[in-house]
Amino acid sequence: MALASPPIGNGMGRGVRDWFAGLSDRYIYGGGAIIFLMLAWIGASLWGSNLEFPERFTFGKALAVRVDDLIFWITVNLAFILDPISDGILRFLVELEDFFQWVPWPVTIIAATAIAFKVAGRRMGIFALVSLLLLGGFGLWESAMETMALIAVAVLISIGLALPIGILAARSDLVDALIRPILDAMQTMPAFVYLVPAIMFLGIGNPAAVLATVIYAVPPAIRLTNLGIRQVSPGTVEAARAFGTTSRQLLVKVQIPMAIPTIMAGINQTTMMALAMVVIASLVGAGGLGDDVNRALSQFQPGNALNGGIGIVILAIIIDRVTQAAAKERQEALMGSRN
């Protein structure tokens, strides 16, 4: 029965293939290396070293010009969209920052300590208390609050984007396949590449910093939202469907609740990545700890730079441990500690 025939059917092809299959990988790689060197030597003696790519095959410059044009066009013609976005982010950020500055520092420290204590245990509570006092001692309190506001806004926007996109990706393999390379690019693209367009779109200052931070930090939240929903056990989903759930009910009552620990892990990663961006964000005009580090570097003050760096580390540790502990608690609640 010829339902499926292998691609190589004739005796000759099969013979060569079997002969190859009989070789161990070591010989194949070793032989390959020798052939490579021989070709390189022959090529180099034919063409000389430093062989250039032919001029008529290169198109990078032309493409770059096109991209420049496109970005300018967007800046000019889509201002009616970009400006309100910029204003909105700025308003949000300023309000939050004002609030953080308005709360007297002892109250903030007590609140943060209490939360760390409740969620992540006694040791983390003590760590939060001591390290936040240290932060004040370094004279970084105001900067830290500014940074916290920036991070909070960037993370909230990231969540706002990540949930719907992650859900879409979880429900459609096509969307998943489309966004996967985009997310990879967002995470690996050097941040400086999108800083300039960010400034051009939103102007120098905090909104551009938030945009750059979101671009860098949002991928894990999207990925893990997608993953969290996809990894809900097929048996559970099937049983839920067997009783006649609509796909909406399935999403809201089964998939999202069960994905929450994974989504929280994604938000944790997103927050950490946002913190890692604060120094770069300060290049486009964000204030806070990142700006402290940046200024110290440009003025050759390694001590001040270190202070600012330690401040960032302190915030990172506290946020990381607390959000991780929260995710774990949620996971355990889901998987069956008795309540």
Partner: protein
């Protein structure tokens, strides 16, 4: 193959009717059934094209109110079959009608409505929602339908009580043992109160005592509710206990279908015989299967002389007497007839032996053993209406019991605890 399928013979519409149902897993399966597929075995098809046969030309009817058992070894397609009945798996070819409606033609909305109101399923691997409590799990079907919380919780507590889980309402399923989780799954299906219950090995995770209790509970519920139940098991004694009809599957195909007794008495092939081997047939098989035609049937109005002649013709020393409407009247022997003849009786009534009691054809073989083991000749068997149905020879009863105890001696069976005849 003798497929006994009572179908629509008595005019009622079957609850579920499955025709030519195929499921082939894999990509690139043709949309029409080809001869090539039809003729290749499961293994061949997997070798040649990577397709896996889940169901192969399955046909059956399930009557309203009956318990229909599907049996087969692991991988024979039982779970695939019940899933297609809910369209959790879309069959590749064939049709499924429930209450005369082709469910494969249902739109998305109709399908949801069908799943909500007409069916409920108990899953082999529970399929509980880990983020919901036991009571919320039990109430799941009702929640999905939009029934308000108070009402659905009340119903959930009722069914949880029924399955013996009172006190566990607020725990999460993962804190319960496997057997308890299975009962939550059962409660969830019962709470939905469907016409058709699909139960995929619902009792397989339970220990033997609870399993027996749950089986009895199901039988009891079934007497009250008369639901249509499609019940999957790989345990023949469970199938025999619960099932009105049983189908046996192998490699996705139905290889035998019938009542438990029919299957025990006439296994269709070696595969079925393997299944049947470990079961104490004698406690399930009735005398009906050992029935022989009555050798000498005498009539009440015969004279003793005529009766003796009839016996003589057949070379028998005893016979059974029926009166006008074929109703069994009693047994006579050559000796009793001769005596009656001498006392001048004109019919057989004077010759009736008073130590021969008729056996009922619904009696199991093991129950009949003590009644016949010391008898020498054939014993009369009557049907439910008291008519003479035939005779059994004590020999055949004893032989059947002996075969069984031989088989058990070879390989001690866990099932030998049941009815003990010795």
């Amino acid at each position: 193959m003798a497929v006994s399928n009572n179908g629509t013979a008595d005019g009622t519409q079957p609850k579920v009717s499955v025709r030519g149902l195929w499921k082939i897993f894999g990509s690139g399966v043709p949309t029409e059934l080809t001869d090539e597929v039809q003729q290749s075995s499961k293994a061949e098809l997997r070798e040649d094209s990577g397709w896996v046969i889940g169901l192969r030309d399955v046909n059956f009817d399930v009557q309203p109110g009956e318990t229909f058992v599907v049996m087969g070894l692991s991988g024979s397609g039982k779970s695939t079959l019940v899933r297609t009945l809910l369209r959790l798996i879309e069959p590749t070819y064939g049709s499924i009608e429930v209450d005369g409606e082709d469910i494969l033609q249902y739109s998305e909305e109709e399908l949801i409505e069908y799943r909500r109101t007409k069916t409920a399923m108990v899953f082999q691997h529970f399929g509980l929602l880990p983020h919901r409590t036991v009571e919320e799990n039990a109430a799941w079907g009702l929640e999905i339908r939009g029934i308000d919380r108070g009402e659905r919780m009340e119903r959930a507590h009722e069914v949880l009580d029924l399955v013996g889980l009172t006190g566990w309402e607020r725990y999460r399923p993962n804190t319960l043992s496997g057997g308890m989780q299975q009962r939550v799954g059962l409660a969830r299906a019962l709470a939905a109160d469907p016409d058709v219950m699909l139960m995929d090995e619902p009792f397989s995770g339970l220990d033997p005592l609870i399993r027996r209790d749950m089986q009895n509970e199901l039988l009891r519920l079934q007497q009250q509710m008369h639901k249509t139940i499609i019940f999957i098991t790989h345990d023949l004694s469970e199938a025999l206990k619960l099932g009105d009809h049983i189908v046996i599957m192998r490699d996705g195909a139905v290889i035998q279908m019938g009542t438990g007794e029919e299957i025990l008495a006439h296994p269709a092939d070696d595969y079925v015989s393997e299944f049947v081997r470990d079961v104490r047939k004698s406690s399930v098989v009735t005398l009906r299967t050992l029935l022989e035609p009555v050798q000498v049937k005498l009539r009440m109005d015969m004279s003793p002389k005529e009766a003796m002649e009839a016996l003589g013709e057949m070379g028998e020393v005893a016979g059974f007497v029926a009166n006008g409407r074929e109703t069994y009247a009693g047994a006579v022997s050559f000796a009793s007839l001769a005596e009656a003849n001498q006392t001048g009786c004109t019919d057989c009534s004077g010759a009736l032996l008073d130590d021969v009691a008729p056996l009922s054809e619904d009696m199991s073989v093991s129950a009949a053993l003590p009644l016949v083991r010391h008898m020498s000749g054939a014993q009369p068997v009557i049907d439910a209406d008291g008519r003479l149905a035939g005779q059994v020879s004590p020999r055949s009863v004893i032989e059947m019991m002996e075969q069984e105890s031989l088989a058990e001696a070879e390989e001690p069976s866990t099932l030998s605890v049941g009815a003990d005849a010795n």
